[in-house]
Each structure stands twice: as structure tokens, then as C-alpha cells.
């Protein structure tokens, strides 16, 4: 049993028992369909460069906000309407990590992108998706410093 945040752990556990590739893909597409863009009260276009994920070819942005109760709320934007993987990951991260403490968020594994999308992720895609995770980590570390 890993020490990941509980909702993330549950999601990964459920995903891991699905062996059929198309079924996995359908789950990820469902997640992408549930993607919610950052609300205008948080950010409007043009989005700030400081929130942009470098090396993400889908034009992803992340906002990591510390709430009054000490938990984190994540917001995302994906400029490319075909950035399905980026939307899927963003949706998964919002569902499983928003509401967690900064300490718990730091427990997310470095290879989360591979755990979700499989080992066949291309280098470029992996860099982009991992970039989303790395930005969240950096932001959360800043809250703790």
C-alpha cells in the first residue's frame, strides 16, 4: 500500500486492475470529458506565463492555490482543444488532489504520468505531462518554505 493521497491511490488501484487497453483509454477520455477550465475569477486569458507548463505542447497552465483551511485547490487550463491527455491528467489531479494538504501532495510519485498513461508514453508527451506535476510540486514546496 503506497502513501499517496488516498483518492489518488484509489484511482491508481482501480486503473491498475483494468488490463484491456481500450477500456483504460475510455476511462482517461471520460476524465478528459470532465475537465473544467480555470474559472474567470481565478484567471482570464491571456493566462500568465508563470502558470504555463514549459515543454507541454498542449499549452497547459496550472494554478496551485493555498486555501484558508491549509489545503490546496488546483486549477487548470489547456489551450489546445486536442490536448486530451493534458485534460485527462488535469481532471484526475483536480479530483484526487484538490483538498489535500501540501505535505500529502508532495507524496505524488515522480512517474505518475507513466502510471496513468502507461509505459509507452513518448518522451515529449511524458515531459509535458510530468511538467504539470513538477509545477504543482514546486508550488506546494513554496507553501511549505
Amino acid at each position: 500500500m503506497s502513501n499517496y493521497p488516498k483518492k489518488l491511490n484509489d484511482f491508481l488501484d482501480n486503473l491498475s486492475i483494468i488490463k484491456d487497453q481500450q477500456e483504460r483509454i475510455n476511462i482517461l477520455i471520460d476524465c478528459a470529458d470532465k475537465f473544467k477550465e480555470v474559472p474567470p475569477e481565478i484567471a482570464k486569458r491571456p493566462f500568465p506565463e508563470e502558470n504555463k507548463i514549459l515543454f507541454c505542447e498542449s499549452g497547459a497552465y496550472v494554478w496551485t492555490n493555498l486555501q484558508q483551511d491549509g489545503t490546496v485547490k488546483l486549477y487548470f487550463a489547456v489551450e489546445n482543444p486536442q490536448g486530451i491527455s493534458a485534460m485527462a491528467l488535469s481532471s484526475i489531479l483536480d479530483i484526487t488532489l484538490s483538498g489535500e494538504t501540501p505535505e500529502n501532495i508532495l507524496k505524488i510519485p515522480d512517474d505518475l504520468a507513466n502510471k496513468i498513461f502507461g509505459e509507452s508514453l513518448s518522451m515529449g508527451k511524458n515531459m509535458g505531462l510530468t511538467g504539470i506535476l513538477q509545477k504543482i510540486r514546486r508550488d506546494v514546496k513554496n507553501f511549505l518554505d
Binding site: N26, E57, M123
Partner: protein, 287 residues
């Protein structure tokens, strides 16, 4: 929109329009193939009858950095219900970036019955044409492929070294920042996987996207392309040219343009590209 046949291409039959594809959805002599950068896109909706060929899992060796071998190519073709007589029609995202990549790989095995759907996936969607999430399955076929031929259209690093020593021409199709080496490794940020930035000596910078119309991803006319490649960059259709990018993906697009639309006779794709050259000990680099 100028008809494909009226754009002055050297091989206009290498391209088909979205309208043509729509009219041939039930044509049993063709197989429509979608290839995208993101492996999830196909399943969100694709042209009815299209199969998915994923560039990472279907076209690349899963252990070595190389393309699939003859046996794997045969397995792929059998799986997607293609025979040597089938005309394959490629399309995909990013103005057919990955469709051209798949097209080029298929040429390594001599499957010349191949075309690209002009404008790709986005044009099909913008024209509000039918999409389906139904997965297409076809009866298995028989396919006997030749051994992969890397001589005609593929270049390796030693050949690139000889090429530049002879002062032959190259085309770097990456962005201007990649060409100049402006994008360099920064702490805590992943890089493109190269220790050095810059470009291969003698390479002209002609980003791949200059070959397409930004409004709809279709290829520019032969006259417009000739202006870019021949007039501005002094390339001749008889030149011996090597194209490259990061892993040979964007350069496949340019290879298609130069070979099929402009009629360049001798163009090879260096798929090792910058992820190899920028990490190779001792090779020359320009900035």
C-alpha cells in the same frame, strides 16, 4: 481553396481532400489511418472506418531506438486489414505531422499505395464531418512485406557526418529557438534530452509549419513552397538533402513536402535528429 490537382505539385496523387475521403468511406480498396501525437485523440472520435496507428507503440521498436522490423510491420498490416494492394490514407492532428511520419515509415517497407488527407483531423472536424467512437475492426489479411529499406529515404549519423564534410545541404525543421540553441537545459526543468543546443553545420532553418496554411492545415501550393524552399533557401530539386528535427517526426512532414509536392529527387530523413546529434560526442555543431 485551390483544388489539389491545380496546385502544381509534382505528385498531386499523394494528397486527397477531405471531400474525397468523405466520398470514399465505403471504398473497400482503401484503409483510412489516423495517427496523432496524443494516443487518446483517436478514441475521442475519428473518421468512420478509420483505424488507429500509434506512432509510439505501432511504428517503433519497443526496446531499441529504431523503427519496427519486417515481421512487426506485417503484423501491423494484418491487424488493420491491409494488403499490398490497399491504398492507405493517413490523417492526424498537428496539420498531419504524425500522419506524414506514419506515411514515411510505410515507405521504408515499400507500401507506396499511400496518401495524406490534406488538412488532417482538424479540417475534417472544422467542416463538421462525421466522427464516430466506434472502433473499426477488419478481417485479418495476408501481407508479405520486403525487408525494411533504410537506404533510399533514411539517413544515419555516419552518413550525416559524411554529408556535411562534402558540404551537402540539410534542412533543420525545428523552431528558430531550437535551431539557434536558445533553448538550453535549466535546473529542475526537463529538456529535449540533448546536452547541447544548436544545429548541424550547413543546415538551413525552415520550420516545418511554414509548409502549411495556418488557417486550415492544408499544404501550400507548389509555387508558395518553391518560394520558401528553392528561392529563399536556395535548395534545388536535384540537391542531395537530409532533413531532421528532434526525433524525425517533424522532418517527416517536410520530407513529404519536398519529395511529393516539390519533386525533390534525393531527400532523406535523419530520424536520429537532434536528440542524437545534440548528445553525440565530438560532432560539429553550429549556433
Amino acid at each position: 481553396m485551390i483544388d489539389i490537382m491545380d496546385r502544381g505539385y509534382s505528385n498531386p496523387s499523394a494528397l486527397v481532400s477531405t471531400e474525397w475521403v468523405a466520398d470514399h468511406l465505403n471504398d473497400k480498396s482503401i484503409r483510412i489511418i489516423e495517427s496523432n501525437e496524443d494516443q487518446l485523440i483517436y478514441s475521442t472520435g475519428h473518421i468512420p472506418g478509420a483505424v488507429h496507428v500509434d506512432w509510439t507503440t505501432d511504428l517503433n521498436d519497443q526496446v531499441r531506438r529504431d523503427y519496427l522490423d519486417r515481421k512487426a510491420f506485417q503484423t501491423l498490416m494484418i491487424r488493420i486489414g491491409v494488403t499490398p494492394a490497399t491504398t492507405v490514407i493517413f490523417y492526424g492532428d498537428k496539420s498531419n505531422w504524425w500522419a506524414c511520419y506514419a506515411y514515411w515509415v510505410f515507405q521504408l517497407f515499400g507500401h507506396s499505395n499511400a496518401k495524406i488527407m490534406d488538412g488532417g483531423r482538424l479540417k475534417w472536424i472544422d467542416e463538421k464531418r462525421e466522427l464516430t467512437r466506434d472502433i473499426s475492426n477488419y478481417p485479418k489479411t495476408k501481407y508479405l512485406a520486403p525487408e525494411r529499406d533504410d537506404k533510399k529515404i533514411r539517413a544515419f549519423r555516419n552518413q550525416v557526418l559524411k554529408h556535411i564534410n562534402k558540404k551537402n545541404k540539410l534542412v533543420d525543421v525545428r523552431s528558430a529557438d531550437e535551431y539557434t540553441g536558445k533553448r538550453l537545459h535549466m535546473p529542475e526543468y526537463p529538456n529535449e534530452g540533448s546536452l547541447r543546443g544548436g544545429h548541424i553545420p550547413n543546415a538551413k532553418s525552415i520550420p516545418w509549419a511554414t509548409a502549411v496554411n495556418t488557417s486550415d492545415g492544408t499544404f501550400k501550393t507548389a509555387k508558395e513552397l518553391s518560394e520558401i524552399y528553392e528561392k529563399e533557401n536556395k535548395l534545388k530539386p536535384t540537391d542531395n538533402i537530409i532533413v531532421y528535427c528532434r526525433i524525425g517526426e517533424r522532418s517527416s512532414h517536410t520530407w513529404f513536402v519536398m519529395k511529393n509536392l516539390l519533386g525533390f529527387k534525393n531527400v532523406r530523413n535523419y530520424d536520429g535528429s537532434w536528440t542524437e546529434w545534440g548528445n553525440l560526442v565530438g560532432v560539429p555543431i553550429e549556433k
